[in-house]
Subunit: 152 residues, 2 copies
Amino acid sequence: MLTINLVCVGNLKEKFWQDAEREYAKRLSKFCNLKIIEIEEANEAKEIDKILAFEGKSILSHCKGYGILMAIEGKNLSSEDFAKEIQSLSLETSQITFVIGGSYGVSKEVKDKILKKISFGKSTFPHNLARIMLLEQIYRAFMINSGAKYHK
Amino acid sequence: MLTINLVCVGNLKEKFWQDAEREYAKRLSKFCNLKIIEIEEANEAKEIDKILAFEGKSILSHCKGYGILMAIEGKNLSSEDFAKEIQSLSLETSQITFVIGGSYGVSKEVKDKILKKISFGKSTFPHNLARIMLLEQIYRAFMINSGAKYHK
């Protein structure tokens, strides 16, 4: 079974995001071994460069297998193409690690090391909502790849 | 105060989506008069054309002021450009109506009548999550337009 790691900066404070995450994690448990790794958010008082360097080190230490960075400058894929991407990666690797940055994005080092970048279009979304959107797209990808019917 | 109507097909079944909607509605109440109008979902047993025609009639009857259809073929805007769009529309109209279709999208009639189409990129999202994404982007737009700091 494919392992999907989701490396995120900071935790989900609101209960509704936690519950949404739990729901998608439950649905995904049929298709993959999902691990959600929450990186400690750096203290806001520091300079942005230092925050990103601190978070980046931690992010990279948790990147196992094939890394995919969620970044606004990344490639915007249709759900079908995203599903194909996961399908073909699953033939090459046993682990995929998705990374969602924090409030300030991610460091240059993270961007340089994780070559594969995917975006959800040009809009900026908060990290908590982006996490749910990504979980939904991963679930949708597995549903597409299994030939199951899944509603919009 | 600008009125923002959000016309959606079907309701939010899961409590976490309802709570997320409530949270963004609360935040938006500072900036606009938000009205969420839930159109009855057509019976799934009917043919798709009939479902869309039934829902479409109801959608159009609730379209007040300037209409914007959320559609995958629409224009994908950055949050800043979306904010500018709302800003300039608010000078022309007192009401903006956003439309999110149901599981089968919307009828040709709705697409023909609502000329302005916006998308959140190429990914397909379920209507419940799309509703939260839209509320977040509207809130982000008001925050951008008011010059407030708002985190990713």
